[in-house]
């Protein structure tokens, strides 16, 4: 049933009926499998990729490198938890780089908002020793999808 995961990873809008057709299974089986994946935390959520640049909404994102002092017994987990609980933080990764420890992606309305988050929330956290903020100027590709393109079928309709 891992095929379901691959299908949903590529297109979360597929219905159970459509998946059932593709995998030649009963709809009930697909529903049950998805429910179980959700319950077990294998499927964590469904989101939509939006090119905000094509809307009127103001939007900036930044990648922030964070250097921290790991805590006794808890390593990086405690400090990571403290950071990822901020709703502005979209992603957070522990890195193997020598230069910094955590990398996070943050989204906000304006650069000022992001700068405020770094100065007022992130930097003051005890055990955060340094941060480096890199603003994203343009998103070319995310989650395998190229931004700025639209789907137009330009194939010649020859009788082949």
């Amino acid at each position: 049933m891992e095929k379901i995961l691959k299908l949903l990873e590529d297109d979360a809008t597929l219905t159970c009926e459509q998946i059932a057709l593709m995998l030649q299974k009963e709809v009930g089986e697909i529903k049950d499998a998805i429910k179980k994946y959700e319950k077990d935390g294998v499927i964590l959520g469904y989101k939509t990729l939006i090119d905000w640049d094509k809307t009127d909404r103001e939007y900036v994102s930044a990648i922030i490198e964070v250097k921290v002092l790991p805590q006794r017994d808890r390593g990086f987990d405690k400090i990571a938890e403290k950071i990822y609980n901020y709703p502005e933080v979209q992603s957070l990764y522990l890195m193997s780089s020598g230069g910094f420890d955590l990398a996070l992606i943050i989204e906000g309305k304006t650069m000022r908002e992001v700068a405020y988050f770094v100065a007022q929330k992130l930097a003051p956290i005890e055990s955060v020793t340094a941060t480096a903020t890199h603003f994203v100027l343009r998103k070319y590709k995310d989650k395998g999808v190229i931004y700025g393109s639209c789907e137009v079928d330009e194939r010649g309709n020859l009788l082949i």
């Binding site: 057709l21 593709m22 194939r155 009788l159």
Partner: protein, 390 residues
């Protein structure tokens, strides 16, 4: 006053324009149609393949290549055929790189056939063989493949079609439009009839990479068949490279060197940048083919099950990216069915008659489209057939 009738070749003028021209004319003038008519991949050529062509341009490799195609490409083609289909050809003089599979078919037919010769063609089939035969003056003898035989040709049908004038058998499998394939055993039964004759088999294997479940078997792999077989193939379907116009023939030396003459004087050589791309495709494209095949397979099952669910009888296609449902039970001719589906639901599929006279009662659906697109089309087809039943 100029008399164009006197100027033009009678043979060319007599070639019938496609019978479903009208259908495509209507289609081209309608907006917002959900079309399932396109016979080419919806994938873009993989980037590493495009990149190698770009690099060749950047380096100024804009010359003609040798007539038969670059040595490296011919070598890669023979390596590939050995690796994938257990076929052995000499890159030196048994491969000609052509402008698409279409040119491969054209030079093979023009090299083998003479006026008055007979060429056996299974129908329904891709539309190019018959006009080429007509231009040569050869006579086409049809084998009408049947739903009850899973659209395969049977040994009995082949035996019945052969006459002393038979020069060539065209073997277009995996088949467009039916999606039928021929297994090793089925090919063996045909080969048994052909061995010991001087009949040339033109095996059009353009869809060889797109079979589902079973690997494609070429008739040239069977004992005693390589010497009488011309393989026509290309990069369009397997690597999503339709616009690159690149194909090839592989044939025994005695045939290949004659085909090279036709190619040489008509075409010179295939486009050089496309040849560079093709080398990269063959060297590093196996994973791309696998990915696309898996995706087509998902769609194949989706459309097959979807059509069956709404009460349309369908032969399960095992190759290419078409499905060929039986629409005869709805009591309309193929063209009526497709025209009304187009007008009433704005959904386009191709009448089976486009691919041969025995195509009436069938239609071709291409599933080289996203599942979302296919799902939308299925909804429209369902609404249409429901309205017919009322």
């Amino acid at each position: 006053m100029i008399d164009y009738g006197k100027m033009l070749s009678k043979t060319v003028c007599e070639i019938k324009p496609s019978g479903i021209r009208k259908f495509f004319d209507i289609l081209s003038e309608m907006d917002d149609v959900i079309s399932l008519t396109v016979g080419q991949p919806d994938f873009i050529t993989p980037w590493h393949i495009r990149e190698s062509a770009i690099e060749s341009l950047e380096k100024g490799k804009t010359y003609y290549t040798s007539n038969a195609g670059m040595t490296d490409l011919r070598t890669e083609i023979t390596n590939y055929l050995k690796r994938r289909f257990n076929l052995e050809y000499s890159p030196k003089d048994e491969v000609v790189v052509t402008v698409g599979g279409s040119e491969a078919i054209d030079i093979a037919m023009r090299t083998i056939l003479e006026p008055g010769d007979e060429v056996i063609l299974p129908i329904p089939s891709f539309v190019c063989y018959e006009p080429i035969a007509e231009m040569i003056g050869a006579k086409v003898v049809h084998i009408e493949t049947k739903l009850e035989n899973k659209f395969k040709i049977t040994p009995e049908e082949l035996r019945a079609a052969i006459t002393p004038k038979t020069k060539m058998l065209i073997l277009p499998f995996p088949n467009n439009p039916t999606g039928a394939i021929l297994t090793r055993e089925e090919l063996e039964a045909l080969a048994e009839i052909l061995r010991g004759t001087n009949i040339c088999v033109l095996s059009d294997e353009i869809y060889a990479e797109l079979t589902y479940g079973k690997r494609h078997v070429s008739i040239a792999e069977l004992d005693g068949m390589r010497e009488r077989t011309v393989i026509a193939s290309g990069f369009s379907k397997a690597y999503a490279m339709t616009g690159w116009r690149l194909g090839y023939i592989c044939a025994p030396r005695e045939l290949a060197i004659q085909m090279l003459k036709v190619h040489q004087f008509a075409i010179m050589c295939a486009p050089t940048m496309s040849q560079f791309a093709a080398i990269e495709a063959l060297k590093n494209g196996d994973d791309d083919v696998e990915m696309m095949r898996a995706e087509y397979n998902r769609r194949r099952v989706f459309i097959l099950e979807g059509l069956r669910k709404i009460g349309i009888e369908c032969f399960e296609p095992e190759g290419a990216f078409y499905i060929y449902p039986n629409i005869a039970p709805f009591g309309l001719s193929s063209e009526e069915f497709c025209e009304r589906l187009l007008y009433e639901q704005k959904c386009a599929i191709v009448p089976g008659t486009a691919f041969g006279e025995n195509g009436d009662g069938f239609a071709r659906i291409s599933y080289a489209y996203s599942v979302k697109h296919l799902a939308e089309a299925l909804t429209k087809i369902e609404a249409f057939v429901k309205s017919l039943k009322k």
